[in-house]
């Protein structure tokens, strides 16, 4: 049967067909839908983990105990999970284990653009790179076969376009994969130095065997042989190259990309007039080809950052682009992403943005958008969970320099469970003079509403124990803790005043659900009446001062013709933030 599947859907299907029984992940664009799609297969235990390191460790345990298992994460997630990955490379697997890394050339939804092919080389483990959804499904099955045959974890590298592009896939039935027996084997699995030194030697041997196998892999192949010009490409970059060059060139299409197939590369490059290496980000294939003694065009011709979409390749090689319609682009107004109407972050950042002499340490989530107009309420952000710890360091530096500057550090509920909890321990243990805010919107918002340890549900929708943030924070020893509704501006202001007056670490938990969250029965109980009302502008009272626009709500604008504010009632959910901002009390609740 044929189906149109995204790369992420196909990866999940491949895992199902490969007999995977345990999958774990932390959400992150563009990888999120892999685990989401795993939950449709009832045979598989699919879990959200608090972070990528924990996800990988959980699947490692399952592999050692004898069950095929898989972890998936975005590129930066693999940084978090790198520690277990490098050592699991040494022990090897019992049942097959595969890690999917979803890279982001072009940084559509990420803070950096790292090339995780480097991890395969650094951890000395094989890598596969699918170019479309069919290959995504097939290569997951191949990855599990390689994992068990060569006693190694396998890394499968996707990129955004592969994850989020749909193409036609032939669906198969799952293979019968018997569980592996578990036999205690301390020489294989206990990594004390005496054992690990032996493992290290085995890794070296394995890498050589895999290097030989790379030449035989069905996913490394020469296509359209006989042309003077050769193109070497892997992953979706192959599809982009094919779009530009068509039948004009010969291709060495690489799917098994670490270790690279030296003999196949040599066979392909012999006698070619010109060779182009089409690879996004780092010159990994290029350096290998050059090392093998062939001159080629790589980063001298193509950009080393961003995506190598067909237009980029065309411009780099031929200096031309497709003809386009010329027009006046100055009319177009930017449409940056914004906090939704009813977003519980709005009230908090409206108040925080008004503070002077405060540095705001930010983090990764929807609330990162608070850096922009009209809030201007963020100074920096680095990575998941970094706000509390980096905020602590910043405050320390201001104090050392004798500067009177306060630091407010902010992160979300899911980010708190991810690694923010460690950062809070840092803050409390070292008695940091910072204000630490957990913006608890009861869900993982930015990636599209995944459950987390505080939300009360598992990945598959079943009831889960709720890990209560306030209880955790108090248990860690925080003395100054406040839990507030962020839509209550007076309360937000009062709480910030209180926290900034303290000489010890404080924690503010703002608690109100994301407007897009599917409310559970518990949410409906806790947040009764949320999103049920609508507000309107009383045009008699409105003086057109535009003060309400400082709340930055997309449902509210000032009509320039009548110089009065207007609320789009299809978007308004009655959070009341604008009504509290209005000095003329012109924003009022709609009567039913």
């Amino acid at each position: 049967m044929k189906k149109l599947l995204s790369g992420n859907e196909a990866l999940a299907r491949g895992a199902y067909e490969a007999g995977v029984r345990f999958a774990s992940a932390y959400p992150g664009t563009p990888s999120t839908e892999i685990l989401e799609n795993m939950t449709q297969y009832k045979e598989i235990r699919s879990e959200w983990a608090p972070n990528e390191k924990v996800a990988l460790e959980a699947v490692i345990g399952a592999s050692i105990a004898g069950v095929r298992s898989m972890a998936s994460m975005k590129h930066v997630g693999l940084n978090v999970a790198a520690d277990p990955l490098f050592t699991f490379s040494y022990t090897g697997v019992n049942a097959g284990m595969v890690v999917i890394t979803a890279d982001e050339p072009g940084q559509h939804s990420s803070q950096n653009e790292q090339d995780n092919r480097n991890y395969a080389k650094a951890a000395k483990i094989p890598m596969l790179e699918p170019s479309d959804s069919q290959e995504a499904k097939d290569m997951i099955k191949e990855a599990f076969a390689i994992s068990e045959a060569y006693d190694t974890p396998v890394l499968v590298r996707m990129t955004t376009r592969g994850c989020h592009s749909k193409s036609i896939v032939e669906i198969s039935e799952p293979v019968a994969t018997p569980y592996k027996a578990y036999v205690k084997d301390v020489k294989k699995y206990v990594t004390v130095p005496a054992n690990a030194r032996e493992m290290r030697k085995k890794v070296e041997v394995r890498e050589k065997v895999l290097a030989a196998y790379a030449n035989e892999s069905p996913y490394n192949k020469i296509e359209n042989e006989g042309r003077a010009i050769g193109v070497i490409a892997s992953g979706t970059a192959y599809c982009f190259a094919k779009e530009v060059f068509g039948e004009e060139v010969s291709y060495l299409k690489l799917g098994f990309t670490y270790p690279l197939p030296d003999q196949l590369i040599e066979t392909f490059c012999q006698g070619k007039e010109k060779i182009y290496i089409i690879e996004e980000n780092d010159p990994i294939i290029e350096e290998r080809v050059k090392m093998l003694g062939f001159s080629c065009h790589g980063k001298d011709t193509f950009p080393s950052y961003g995506e190598l979409t067909p237009d980029v390749i065309r411009k780099s090689v031929y200096g031309t682009e497709l003809p386009v319609i010329e027009y006046d682009q100055t009319k177009i107004i930017q449409r940056p992403p914004t906090l939704c109407a009813g977003c519980p972050h709005r009230g908090f950042f409206y108040e925080l943005g008004k503070r002077k002499n405060v540095m705001v340490a930010g983090d990764i989530g929807c609330y990162t958008l608070a850096f922009a107009e009209p809030y201007n309420a963020m100074d920096f952000n680095i990575c998941m969970g970094a706000s509390f710890s980096a905020g602590h360091g910043a405050k320390l530096a201001f104090d050392l320099k004798g500067e009177d500057k306060r630091v407010v550090s902010v992160l979300g509920d899911s980010t708190f469970f991810h690694t923010g909890i460690n950062s809070l321990i840092e803050v409390l243990y070292n008695n940091s003079r910072t204000v630490n805010v957990i913006l608890d919107n009861r869900i993982t918002g930015m990636t599209g509403h995944q459950e987390n340890p505080g939300s009360g549900k598992h990945a598959n929708g079943t009831e889960a124990p709720i890990i209560d943030i306030e209880t955790v924070v108090r248990a860690l020893g925080a003395k100054h803790v406040a839990v507030i509704n962020p839509n209550d501006l007076a309360k937000v202001k009062e709480t910030l005043d209180w926290a900034l007056s303290l000489d010890e670490p404080s924690v503010i938990i703002t608690k109100w659900p994301c407007v897009l969250k599917k409310m559970s029965s518990l949410d409906q109980e806790q947040f009764a009446g949320a999103f049920k009302t609508k507000y309107r502008v009383d045009s008699e009272l409105c003086i057109g001062c535009k003060l309400c626009t400082k709340a930055g709500c997309p449902a509210l604008s000032v009509n320039p013709d009548i110089k009065k504010a207007e609320i789009d009632r299809t978007q308004c959910v009655g959070c009341q933030v604008c009504a509290q901002v209005c000095a003329k009390k012109a924003i009022v609740k709609e009567e039913n």
Partner: protein, 189 residues
Amino acid sequence: MTKSIMLVGVGGQGTILASKLLTQGLMEAGYDVKMNEIHGMSQRGGAVSSHIRFGDNVASPVIEKGGADILVSFELMEALRWLGYLKVGGKIVVNNYQMNPMPVVMGKCSYPEGILEELQQKAPTSAFNAMAEAQKLGNPKVMNVILLGTIIKLMNLEDINWKKIMEENVKSAFMELNLKALEIGKALV
């Protein structure tokens, strides 16, 4: 020969269902199909685009600048933003419906005027208010199916069994409404 359809709009406008129905229909008609969307941060009220490509053998899932046979915009100004992706000689379908971006909300500038005229000067343009048409049917959500109808007509895809595709993807309670919306869309262009 590969054909390219580009759907653009504002995050949350429902371009996803329209492109899902379209690609399903194209696959069942025997075409090779590739479709690309960017998810993530842009969902939050930002500019979004879906790329759909079909033919005998499609290589790239991404439409490049100057590559779209038809540009279907769910919002007025977005048509202008993505006009550079239209092939010279391609067609525009535009929902004559405005959504204010943040700088307009903030009162820093006003929504630009004369967009429709600019589009009409540059390429054959079908413009109508699909939102108003959807509201006439009693449900603003079917705006996307109305726009799907226009694509089916303009790309000569009327031979595909769209009723069957709808039945597989739309709840039966909404079938009649959606089939009506599809017909309205076809009649608009």
